[in-house]
Amino acid sequence: MWERFLSMSSKSPLLLLASITTWLPIIVAVYGRKKLTLELKILLFYLIVYVIFDICEWVTAAAKLHNAYLHNINESVGMIITGWLYFKIVESSPTKQKVVIALTLITVLNSIFRFSWEEVAGYSFTLNKAAVITFVFLHFHSIITEIKVSNILTHPPFWISAAFLIFACGTLFIYLFWQYTISTTTQKELYRLYFSIISQTFICIFMILLSIAFWTSKFSKQNVE
């Protein structure tokens, strides 16, 4: 199993790098744990769940076990936590909160009905990414209309949204054409390009941006009116 793990890591170093990068925001969060707001605590919870699933995926892959279902469950649980996170982020607007709840429910129900043990649930993922982009739009709308933040670059929720937006935009098309990019029938070369390179690169970017969000938490109190 260890040899298989080393073989996978050497063939696709980005896979390993993405998994290592996942620890970066967690380390930053633990380092500045005293200053974490509720939003950042939810985000930390999201990352811990993500890491647990990631470890499970590595173990099952090393044991040559099928693990697409883990990826699907991870995505659905992640979507629930993301909905909870944005419910807190847009709490100044009850209407936006209702939209967040509705979209979270739709995506979770869709994930349940379209759940697959064998394949990555591409369409569910696409819908999830679209929902996340909508959450980010709602948050950005709040930022530019409420004008409560004195320096947006040191405002953790802004970096959270930037991370989610770039990750969702970067992977939406890959999941929309999942049969062509990441299904079990996909050509090895293409799978390697879309899953092992592009997706993992966006995971790295996502984690780095989330690390910035945790790092800026020390300015968050003096930054909001």
């Binding site: 950005f140 004195s150 930037a162 770039i166 098309f173 890959i174 062509y180």
Partner: protein
């Protein structure tokens, strides 16, 4: 077919990513602009509020001066006149009491009291409205004021006015403010600091009046007095008066080493 799908996915991802990054940049720039506008509006509101406060203070000071003039006039014209008439009438009465020695002594004492009262009324009337200031200007009125104080106390005064002639006149508000500030500063130096020597330096440079008041008194803890609502009233009054004419005041004081007060006032 494969190439077409590939390019569609790559292009779609690139476009979406470009839009995502564009949106993030837009939010940063737009939010900063909105924030800038908000701060500018807040600043404009604050300036307006300050200006209104300044005008209200100016009106209050004007009303105070008008009231001083009225009281001074009443004292001088009515109380003073009544006392003078009483004195004349009393003199006549005293002449008729020449023979009664005891009564004459009492009468003389009463006349002296009346003379003192007349003198007091004149002094209060003059202090309320510095008529010398209005008629002869700042330099002569300060000169007159410090001479009077010097006579009443043992404190020595040094007054210099570089570049300002005795006849030079400034805006009425500026002259009155400086005069009232000097009254307050001299009063503080004598009453609280027990100063033995006071120096007043007045000069002008580039459309600004510079006034430096130095005393060798006991000094005081400026921060403590400034923050004490009971003791800092005089200081705040001086600041308020100066704010009306856009002047500034700086006070340097060390306990036991006297006080230096520097005032700057712009004039047209």
């Amino acid at each position: 077919m494969l190439n077409n799908s590939n390019s569609l996915i790559i292009t779609g991802t690139a476009i979406l990513l470009f839009m995502g990054i564009g949106l993030i940049i837009f939010v940063i720039i737009y939010q900063q602009q909105q924030l800038k506008q908000k701060y500018e509006q807040q600043k404009a509101m604050q300036d307006l509020k300050n200006e209104m406060q300044r005008q209200m203070l100016e009106s209050a000071l004007e009303v105070q001066e008008v009231e001083r003039v009225r009281i001074a006039k009443d004292l001088h014209d009515e109380v003073g006149a009544m006392l003078s008439v009483t004195k004349m009438s009393f003199n006549q009465l005293l002449r008729k009491l020449d023979n009664a020695e005891d009564l004459a002594v009492m009468g003389k004492q009463t006349r002296e009291l009346l003379e003192q009262s007349i003198g007091q009324v004149r002094r209060i009337s003059k202090e309320l409205v510095p008529s010398t200031l209005e008629e002869f200007g700042l330099i002569l009125s300060i000169d007159e004021f410090i001479q009077k104080v010097h006579l009443a106390s043992t404190t020595a005064f040094i007054f210099s006015h570089e570049g300002i002639s005795e006849k030079q006149r400034f805006d009425k508000k500026i002259e009155l403010t400086i005069y009232r500030l000097i009254q307050e500063l001299v009063n503080n130096a004598l009453k609280h600091a027990k100063a033995k020597e006071i120096s007043l330096q007045l000069s002008t440079q580039e459309k600004k009046i510079f006034f430096t008041f130095t005393d060798d008194g006991e000094g005081f803890d400026f921060t403590a007095v400034r923050n004490d609502p009971k003791r800092g009233l005089g200081l705040r009054n001086m600041e308020s008066r100066l704010s009306v004419i856009n002047g500034t005041i700086t006070i340097q004081s060390v306990v036991g080493s006297g006080t230096i007060t520097k005032i700057e006032i712009p004039f047209a």
